[in-house]
Subunit: 224 residues, 2 copies
DNA sequence: AGGGAAGACGAACGTTTGTTTGATCCCGAA
DNA sequence: TTCGGGATCAAACAAACGTTCGTCTTCCCT
């Protein structure tokens, strides 16, 4: 049981009908998430997954129906967890400031969960890479889910609009879009290039420092 | 001959050895760029390309060697053109300000070329999507090229460091990285989500307004 | 102890993939 | 006109793909 593996709590929490222990299912899920995150969706075959998980080839279709359904299941579970953490942090920021949190704390609720996931020793490190990948190379079902599930983003837009009531609503959306771009750019390949450019000066492994840097940049940009 | 097609000047400019007119080669190039940009690299087969181009299946391997070589050829040609435009704008900004351009004009040299390409009626609109795609789902050769070709980025970092001499060099690199993230986020899928979120309030088709918005945000973030 | 459903298994299915082959066409040079 | 070589063509290639099929195995329930 490595740190990347699922705990059974997650499995039962999101699928109430699941009564089986399904160790094989969890192994497939964990192996698929890791391989997909590292190599991309189309570059990983069902045989790669089942070999990595040490289970039979037919396990994917038996437990998840199809390769695409497995992909979507991973995507759905991880995005739900990430958005839950963001919503909770935003809620706490509201509670701390009588419903009108400053822009910095709103953006922190947006940035902190994914940035913490990106830490080298975090159990959800590969989940974040998976989600970021889904944005560009995901199934049509994934992209449709990303497109339509904007309810949690709307709450961030509302909070940001409250923090800068003089700003046109349209502008709030654009700047929120820019802030999200900062997160989606937190990919290993981008960090590698940054390291080459800076001659190893930049340390993306220091997550807290990166979060502070990103917040400085984003807050200044949003309040411009 | 649609607007997306290559002109023969490009072909001869980058491959001096080319003596053949090669209308078929240009048709394959144009069809491949469009399909790859729209559907992703792995979701487009050689048969899709040759059918779209109206040529024989073997044309890809005959003219480019392999599917991957064709991909890399498109990538190499388009990134070279984009970086050339950026370098030229940066050079002009230097010329206008005695070698010390303000941050806004440096960032404009970084943002303007890709943003102009993203305009609906621009002949390089799909080229930009292709380049952005290459960042996440590209071949290992592409990602290595992206990682190692930082020479043109170094000049932007130098110019930005001159505009804010008090800023630690390390910080300059980080904020340049953040600025690049704004560009990479200019994908159709992201714009779609933004439109859903804002209820159609945001108009990404107004490229000049978007460039101004992005510059406001990035300059404030960089000077924070 | 026995019955039965769920799970795991090896093996094969039919497609689709990128690539290669050898014949044929076309057109400029001799 | 004849020759020759680059360009195009239909056809086939082996490999890899996702999925499905029967058949064992396992283990809980009565």
């Amino acid at each position: 049981m490595t740190s990347d593996n699922d705990n059974p709590i997650d499995l039962r929490l999101l699928e109430p009908g699941e009564t089986q222990d399904a160790a094989t299912k969890a192994a497939v899920f964990a192996a698929a998430e890791r391989l997909f995150a590292e190599q991309g969706f189309q570059n990983v075959s069902v045989r790669d997954i089942t070999t990595e998980a040490g289970v039979n080839l037919a396990a994917v279709n038996y437990h998840f129906g199809s390769k695409d359904a497995l992909l979507f299941e991973i995507f759905r579970r991880r995005t739900a967890e990430l958005n839950r953490q963001r919503a909770r942090m935003l809620h706490e920021a509201h509670a701390r400031h009588d419903g009108r949190p400053p822009a910095r704390e709103v953006l922190e609720a947006l940035f902190a969960p994914p940035l913490h996931w990106s830490a080298l020793d975090h159990p959800r490190r590969l989940s974040l890479q998976f989600i970021i990948r889904a944005r560009g190379e995901g199934t049509e079902a994934m992209r449709e889910a990303l497109r339509n599930d904007v309810s949690y983003l709307a709450r961030f837009a509302d909070a940001l609009a409250q923090a800068r009531p003089d700003l046109a609503r349209e502008e709030v959306y654009w700047r929120l879009h820019f802030c999200l771009g900062l997160i989606h750019n937190s990919q290993p390949a981008e960090f590698d290039r940054l390291n080459v450019l800076s001659g190893g000066l930049t340390q993306e492994s220091d997550v807290e420092a990166l979060l502070a840097r990103m917040l400085d940049f984003a807050v200044a940009g949003f309040l411009a």
